[in-house]
Symmetry: C2
């Protein structure tokens, strides 16, 4: 669970080649909870619908129906997603009468969005294809990172 004393478990069913490396990485990895936390945020950004909502909110706060119209989604679906996002403190809501205005609440997420949008600018469409063999591009660009 926590401080596993880096047993070079050659007895366990796990094969290890570079024990030092494994130990080092184990020490460098954040705790389980932190990783799960970060993964949860990434997972929230991992849905196209939610991602569009958040990008829309980059420009400022909006109400649910406008958000739905701008992103081409059903209002109920948007409400559900906003609920999720709010639960994770990614957005916050302000109520004005019967309207609810949402805005980004997390600077970290805003940074992630900015970085990603900037990346999308000068990057050709990625090959979102799966098991395509990278035959032609097999040769690595070179450079030993270590």
């Amino acid at each position: 669970m926590s401080a596993v004393p880096v047993e070079s478990d050659s007895s366990c069913g796990v094969r290890i080649v570079d024990a030092e490396r494994v130990a080092a990485v184990r020490g460098a990895l954040p705790e389980e909870g932190r990783v799960a936390d970060a993964a949860a945020v990434f997972a929230l950004l991992g849905d196209p619908g939610r991602l569009k909502l958040l990008v829309a909110l980059l420009e400022g706060e909006m109400c649910v129906c406008d958000l739905a119209a701008a992103c081409g989604q059903g209002e109920s679906a948007v409400s559900h997603q906003l609920r999720l996002l709010r639960a994770h403190r990614v957005v916050i809501s302000r109520r004005s009468g019967r309207m609810a205005y949402y805005r980004l609440a997390d600077a970290h997420v805003r940074l992630l969005l900015d970085v990603t949008l900037a990346h999308l600018e000068h990057a050709e469409p990625e090959p979102t294809t799966l098991p395509a063999a990278p035959s032609t591009t097999a040769a690595a660009p070179g450079g030993t990172p270590r």
Copy 2:
């Protein structure tokens, strides 16, 4: 681009409050494909197992079995995940004999990981809990709970 002539579709079943805003956001949103692309990358980072693998790879290339040992996952599972990551050009593999060494291939992802790790440093555990979990921590640890 996809010049949807911003019909203030009052005829459609969608209600709009601030038509200008909606139009502006529509224009500012990246194309569908781009959003889907970015979401796909975020989704890849959204799994705790994969996220750990990628964080481990931040330190340099590793083989499958070491990766599995360091991250506490089955080797088969790791192989599957690496396959996914490779398909999206997030990692690349180098073969040396019967070993396969993986390394980060995408500078964008590396940046996202760095930003997130830095954020984890000086940030108290987020309330990764959903709406229903007031539990003992009913009184929020401080800040703006609601």
